[in-house]
């Protein structure tokens, strides 16, 4: 008798999960990132599918007023030119010494006009300024004003091709991460060069960082080195963190 009960319960769970899966079918026309056979990542991919299926792709994160700007810690990498660190970057060190004069951001991959954008060129795009909340996975928050180029404008300028599905970011401190096109074209997704009315400081990701306001802080990658548009998911391997962090 005991055995029978266990099967019933398991069947109930399976049925429930299957039913939810069916509910989420509209969200599954998005390509899914790999979950590395990991049940934890399956849950995160499920959250991703649910958010994409249920929420508007254009919904804006809350914007605050100037007086709401708060103190903000700089965490993770705080200087890729620090020779004592594993992530030390000689190239970054060189750019830092010359005040990012010759720094350029390559935009490559599935774009009609691959090119390198200097800071001055990026600043010629219509800028977007937003006062938003940075929400760290650790549990802390901070509000700051960010100014930069909408990623959408840059991708359109470079002529993104229709079969493109992912926008990949490479950083000087050795990170590789990507976002889907819904996040890439979101109005608040910007490449920020300004913070609180000044040039972005080194601890916060100079010269340019991503701002991705509908995901947790660490997805807003600092110290951008290169952007590559691809059709297939570029696999950084299991870095131990969820790929989607809207929650």
């Amino acid at each position: 008798m005991k055995k029978k009960q266990i099967i019933t319960r398991r069947a109930a769970i399976t049925t429930g999960v299957a039913a939810l899966g069916a509910l989420l079918i509209p969200g599954c026309n998005q390509p899914m990132p790999p979950n590395y056979g990991n049940i934890l990542r399956m849950g995160d991919n499920f959250t991703y599918a649910a958010h994409r299926a249920l929420f508007s792709s254009q919904s804006l994160a809350k914007e605050y007023s100037f007086s709401d700007i708060s103190s903000m810690p700089a965490t993770g990498t705080i200087n890729p030119a620090d020779t004592s660190k594993e992530y030390f970057s000689e190239t970054y060190d060189k750019h830092l010494r010359s005040g990012f004069e010759n720094w350029q951001l390559p935009v490559e991959g599935l774009v009609a006009r691959p090119g390198n954008y200097s800071l001055d060129q990026l600043k010629k795009f219509n800028a977007r300024t937003q006062i938003t909340r940075h929400t760290c996975e650790e549990g802390w928050t901070a509000i700051a004003e960010w100014s930069g180029v909408p990623l959408k404008a840059l991708l359109e300028h470079a002529g993104m091709m229709p079969k493109a599905r992912w926008v990949n970011f490479y950083s000087y401190d050795g990170w590789l991460d990507c976002i889907d096109l819904i996040d890439a074209f979101h109005p608040q997704t910007i490449l920020a060069y300004g913070m609180n009315g000044k040039n972005l400081s080194i601890p916060h990701g100079a010269p340019i960082r991503l701002r991705l306001e509908r995901q947790i802080g660490f997805k807003s990658m600092k110290y951008l080195e290169k952007i590559v548009v691809t059709e297939n998911y570029v696999d950084p391997g299991d870095i131990g963190w969820a790929w989607y962090n809207g929650f």
């Binding site: 008798m1 005991k2 009960q5 019933t8 319960r9 109930a12 769970i13 999960v17 939810l20 049940i39 934890l40 399956m42 849950g43 995160d44 499920f46 959250t47 958010h51 249920l54 929420f55 919904s59 804006l60 994160a61 809350k62 605050y64 709401d68 700007i69 708060s70 103190s71 903000m72 810690p73 700089a74 965490t75 993770g76 705080i78 200087n79 909340r133 929400t135 760290c136 996975e137 650790e138 549990g139 802390w140 928050t141 901070a142 509000i143 700051a144 913070m195 609180n196 000044k198 400081s201 601890p203 916060h204 306001e213 509908r214 995901q215 131990g240 963190w241 969820a242 809207g246 929650f247």
Partner: protein, 256 residues
């Protein structure tokens, strides 16, 4: 769907769907508590409002991990030239910090999926079958001061009724179950949603009703404390009323 208390059979046993959802929610809840503590250990500071971080004052700092009262910071740099300007500072010694959020957050949200989905099914079935009306919702008669005081007195005297094997609950029991089903668990879920940047972008009113992310996080914490107190009391009552029998009735349902 009867509203007559006399219609509750003395022999009525726990329904299979009640038992199933009870145990799925139990496992989800225990995992949520475990990972919740892990997540709180990474940043054991609580605040009110939208903003809170190591450069702003906390309303409560819990000494629950080596991350509390960290002092390894670069010099503070003000953002503006004004007095009392908000500041920035780089954090050093990141490698020495406790952070298991990579799996902790993922397991928290995976468990939350099971809790929310099972909870929804449970609430829908509870309404459709009349389970809430019949067994959980206290009757007006039961809420009379005389009845309430009698039940409280018996609890104080540790005179706990033996298990019936079914949902024949006392009034204090009903109030406790009702509170966690309709207040505490929904509150934990909604404050959890309020900490999601994607969900609050879609539903901005969440941040308005709680008065900010950090307030929601703090309420989430205290709600979980409330739920943990309930769990301890619940287990205490099960032990007092006959642990073996109670667990049997809630699982395979056979007479011991």
């Amino acid at each position: 769907m009867s509203s007559q208390p006399s219609s509750i059979s003395k022999n009525e046993k726990h329904q299979p769907w009640v038992k199933t959802s009870h145990w799925i929610i139990t496992i989800s809840f225990l995992l949520l508590v475990f990972t919740g503590i892990e997540i709180l250990m990474v940043h054991p500071r609580l605040y009110w409002g939208e903003v809170g971080n190591e450069l702003t004052p906390a309303f409560l700092e819990l000494p629950i991990s080596r991350n509390h009262n960290r002092s390894d910071w670069e010099a503070e740099v003000p953002f503006f030239d004004t007095e009392n300007s908000p500041v920035s500072a780089g954090r050093n010694g990141e490698e020495e910090m406790f952070n298991e959020n990579g799996w902790g957050r993922s397991l928290h949200f995976l468990s939350a999926w099971f809790l929310v989905v099972t909870g929804l099914v449970y609430v829908i079935l509870g309404l459709l079958t009349g389970h809430f009306q019949k067994h959980i919702w206290p009757r007006l008669r039961e809420l009379s001061p005389v009845q309430l005081f009698r039940d409280i007195r018996e609890h104080i005297k540790m005179k706990i009724a033996p298990p019936t094997g079914g949902p024949q609950y006392g009034v204090l029991q009903k109030i406790a179950y009702m509170s966690i089903i309709f207040i505490s668990l929904p509150m934990a879920i909604i404050t959890g949603f309020t900490m999601s940047p994607a969900i609050t972008a879609a539903f901005p009113f969440l941040l308005e009703i709680f008065g900010g992310y950090q307030t929601a996080r703090t309420i989430h914490f205290f709600t979980s404390i409330g739920l943990e107190i309930f769990l301890v009391m619940h287990i205490a009552m099960i032990i007092l009323s006959g642990f073996k029998q109670q667990v049997r009735y809630m699982t395979i349902g056979k007479q011991p």
